[in-house]
Amino acid sequence: MSSPAFESSMRPPAPVYLVGKGVILETLRRKDVYVLLILSLLFVAGIFVISLVGIENAATSTFLLNLGMSLAYFFAHLLTLLSAARQIPAELENRTLYPILAKPLSRGQYYLGKWLAVWLSGVVTLVVLFLLGWLPVPRMETYSSLLLAQTFVLYVCSLALTASVAMFLSLVMPRGSSMILLALLLFAGGKIIGWIHDSSQHLPLSRVIHWGIAYIPDFSLLNLTTRYTDGIDPLSLPQFCGLILYGSIFTAFFLALGTLLFRKRSL
């Protein structure tokens, strides 16, 4: 005779949790995160040296703040991209996927667990790097605290999208190509989309083209760093919710598409 509480405590952990735990352990074992941490610490050391010498003007402190936040954004996204893009191809190459899938674990749960863990490790990295990039810089101009919170929330959204797109791309193209393509989208996508948008203004099917390019994930929409350091007002609630919705829809879509592909794929 056992109580339900006892039974639930004896129940094996959820499969998603187990897969996720494996991903986080693997991330910690790899050197990527430590390299990024060292680079961020170099930035912090640089800031301390500059602070000792003295920051000449407010414009420079704002520039350093922008740089610190941009580094945190860049490194966290880079880590998420690298980690997400190698999850499934590496498991396939090493043939470690088969024993995992032999357990009572559906492919959907496996995929979701991987994505969730990659995203979470990206968020933890972001928190650490963001604190390292934001805290030590002396703030000599006024910035909106609400916009800072919005910026951070959108960073987290952007990481979720990065993880889902990277995992989806790793299923449809070679690992290296998927990484390069997503890195392009991540760090230059906004400009590329803007260029296509502007170049097609005078074409007869411009509206169709504009509608079409709206399906390319635009990560620049989820990066408010410059708006924050520019001293501009926070986003209005509809704008902010619109951006969250944008990130969520795209994340859900690529996650669903990836899961579907992975379920149908012959291993």
Partner: protein, 360 residues
Amino acid sequence: MSEHDPKSGARKILLSGVLVLFLLSPVITIHLDPAGYQGGRSRDIRDRSLRNQSAAGIILGELRTSMSDLMFIKTELYLHSGVAYQLNLDYDAMSSRGQVRDLKENGKPSIPEPTPPGHSLKGPGQDLKHPFEEEIDHSHHDDHDHVHPPGEEDTHFHCEGAKTVIPTEREDFRGFIGKLHREVKPWLDPSKPHKHTDGTELLPWYRLMTLSDPHNIRAYMIGAWWLKRFRKKPQLKEAEKFLEEGIRNNPKAFQLYLMLGHVNRAMGDNGKAMGNYRKAAEMALEVRPPGGREGPDWTNYNEEDALASLRLAVFTEEEFGSKEAALALARRYLQAVEGDAILQRHVDQLSGSQPQSEDN
């Protein structure tokens, strides 16, 4: 998994929902533009100059140079045939007013005195003597004085004044290394007159700048200004298109309407010019903070552009519309921007000339 599995049914519904939302997502995306704001410290020329002068900025080397900064530096290099002068382009003054800095006299910008009303605002190729038209058409890019040789519209020769990035032999402590540096890099003795190339080579850079940042209003303005400088119909048409693109990307940028007014004027479309100046003026009044107070999103350049819009709206109304309307407009604008000497003088002149014109 069977067809009748309830889990499978729920999954299909969920997937269909996500797909529908994704297909409809452009409806949201089109209305999202968190970077679509005017001004900001990163676009402020003074802030940029302070950043670039700071030791921290220099230590961080290339990192300090944003994409946009890099392109501005490129345009300056192109303008001087590769010779790197210490940053001296006053893009903002150039784009809005073609302002010259008379360093020899007092180090302050020399602003031409406005001529009395009744000046000519004629079509293309005709004598354009409006004070602002004169400012706009006159191309000046440097802190230093210059001489235009007769008959050379696209080339400038400048007298001494601007310092080069690579120092002269007298100021260079590096000896042989410095000499080598001057030999292998494009360099001209700053005491000798230097030559400006025409703006043709700069145009792709302004295009790149607007592609890299569609909210770079200055790049739209200066690019259009260079195109306008050719004074030929295809280039003027191109300038118009360029500005229209800028307006589509920055619908609240009154400066672009101001520039479009200049281009319309150069094309001889005075009616359109009047409309655009008026639009620029009204939009400027909407966004101008009380008293034109400077802040991150309202710099002195914004203020100058706003004043130019107001003045030009009045001048063109007087020239192509009616004097009564121009007077009413000038009075209204003067109320909004108290203490503008040029508008004040214009109101005085217009109110003085009105009874006479009625008598006539």
